[in-house]
Symmetry: C2
Subunit: 157 residues, 2 copies
């Protein structure tokens, strides 16, 4: 499986146009577009998105938000961690290890990662080294939380 | 469009078997099953799930969690509200108003409702009377929050 170069995506009209190819496109993307149009954010501002290009085409992406440790209900000891959302590889580019490259990139920051495994993607996340948490209905409210633990980190009880 | 009878789902092995027909099946369902097998919860315990049956077949469902007002970052005035997850109607039963019946049932509790509109379902939620919130990256972290406001309730600024 190849390793693919991962880059942090800058917000500009080109990137936002590329985002329209992805299934998960909503208020987050629209709000970036509006902020750009209204000059509230600058062209080429940093974004929470990371991506993989094939030539000039964005073919995979994920969103990563750092969550402050005061909100951490997942990890022991409590600490800053990343929430990983919107991991998505375009049809035709799947099965090439692009998702894995993105997730490996996130792991390299060295903080724990939490995601919500949707639509029976549990096996995929396990293959990437993620583990299911013990379901807690108050905390998880229907989510399907999978996490990646760096060394020395475990599940918060 | 017909109105469909909505029932609160009780947790038993029959219900959990029906859940296997839905795309969103994960730790929440598995944890219910384990609790039932271990007699941690009783047969026919109440669940956060509501459903619609056609004959004896469960064809649509949603999960509703009441969130305490101290965690409310969406509504003005801050108040208890429902988080709606896992609204899903089986293929072959879509387009009959089953999703609408489920959501109408949730509205009848009279509290605001918040959901995360996935995979470009924005138009669907708008048709059901939901509105997009103003995206706030700290709060929404990649989510696509749509809400339903009962009378007298507005967006928290």
């Amino acid at each position: 499986m190849d390793t693919h170069e991962v880059v942090r995506l800058h917000i500009n009209f080109k990137t936002l146009e590329e985002f329209e190819n992805f299934r998960e496109y909503g208020l987050q993307e629209l709000s970036m577009k509006e902020d750009l149009e209204a000059n509230i954010i600058e062209n080429d501002s940093e974004s929470p998105f990371y991506g993989v290009y094939f030539g000039k085409k964005l073919v995979g992406r994920m969103s990563l938000y750092k969550i402050d440790k005061k909100f951490d209900r997942y990890f022991e000891p409590p600490q800053d961690y990343y929430e990983l959302w919107k991991l998505e590889v375009l049809p035709g580019y799947q099965g090439k290890g692009i998702g894995r490259s993105l997730v490996d990139y996130a792991k390299n920051f060295g903080l724990p990662i939490k995601t919500n495994a949707r639509q029976r993607s549990d096996d995929y996340w396990k293959k990437l080294g993620f583990e299911a948490l013990t379901y807690q209905s108050d905390r998880d409210r229907g989510e399907n939380p999978y996490v990646w633990f760096p060394k020395g980190v475990s599940e918060q009880k």
